[in-house]
Amino acid sequence: MLVTSAVPDRIAGIYADGWSRIVATMIRFTGGDWDLAEECAQDAFAQALQKWPASGIPDQPLAWLTTAARHRAIDRIRRASTEAAKLREVAAMDLEPPYPDDSEIPDERLELMFTCCHPALSLEAQVALTLRSLAGMSTAEIARAFLLPERTLGQRLFRAKQRIANAGIPFRVPPAHLLPDRLPALLHVLYLLFNEGYGDAQKVRLCQEAIRLARVLTALMPDEPEAHGLLALMLLHDARRPARTDAAGDLVTLDEQDRSRWDQARITEGAEICERALRRRRAGPFQLQAAIAACHATAPVADQTDWPQIVGLFTELARIAPSAVVELNRAVAIGMADGPEAALPLVDAIAETGQLKDYYLFHATRADLLRRAGRGVEAADSYRAALELAPTDAERRFLRNRLQPH
């Protein structure tokens, strides 16, 4: 028998895992009415909070919640509609047998993920929908995470749901021939969420949700190595979070981080997931980035980092997903493996294309290589260029420290 005070905690746990399941089921049940689906899911949880402390948690909580949500939906449609056809439809809905068992409720979270991340929606709409419908964050919570007025976010969500219905965006997992386009788009949204949370201690929740959704995704698509690659990458980055900033909130570079503060369990898990994914021999950008992160995370001290292997991984990454940023990172790795003189020509080649001239890390990287090559005057110029472009105070402080010899 449960102690009553533990019930709200358990409901919170059931909410974390069950919200998206129930929303997805209800979207199907209401024939694509997202607003109604969410409202009914919310109502079901409100009922649970009210009833379960006295009655105890039912054996099949998901089935209980889904049944409650369905009753609410039928009620709502019946009251809102005077149309005979609609009422006949509702009567038929009422006759569908309730789910007897949690395990018999179809899991449609994958359908929900792909619909939330449909490329016909704007990226910001995709992000907002993912956080609301999948992560179960409230409009107010999402608004806070993005420093936007709640009203703005509410409107954004409202329009996104309208658009899904009006434009005819299907609620389904894309067929095989569309997956090569759609899966990377979905992974991109999850990684964007993670990165949004990674740079800011106030937004840790976004990282946690991104990791949780990536876990769900890998469970539902076990044969997609890139999904595993993304999960591994996020775990490996997240493992280093405690050491990324010092007591004053300043950024600490990878080589100067206190490695005893890294989360070893996360590193082990991330590295294992990455290795298993790569064994499928369908390496993609996320798997390669995870492998690079694993090289860093598993080095006992910075000096023992396997730079030649990192160079190899960046070379492969530049081949399958070429970009100036990847070239820059490859140059950094070469600088570490073979010395700054080997890397500077590569950095200068990027400078000639002009592609990264507004990217502060480009100038910071060039400055660092020049400094290590003993070309102090040129290094100072590059540090100043970086300083002008750096987006945050922490980054500016870091660059200023480098500019002033101690």
Binding site: H118, N166, A167, G168, I169
Partner: protein, 112 residues
Amino acid sequence: MKYLMLVCTDPSYTPGQEEGAPDVVDWLEEMNGKGVRLMGHRTRPASDATTVRVRNHQVLLTDGPWAETKDQIAGFDVLDCADLDEAIEVAAKHPMAWAGMIELRPFWPEEY
């Protein structure tokens, strides 16, 4: 679902971008055969357009399109598709998606 497929030219067209594009005759054959394309036609350029307005019971005419629009309508098709994904696939196979651009406008539902 029904969609109006507006076939438009692209002001930022660069020669060669349509290389490898499918043939419009093949497109017509495939989409008519599948029953996805209900009707459609090429339209004459904006310079041959007439804009009609009725104000104070008077018919007012302007030669040319109603506004300066960057993209110019070159034709239209009416599609009947299962969902937006199918409509996107149909549009992406049209040669003007390569040489120009295509806008998909869902119809309001017919039943009220």
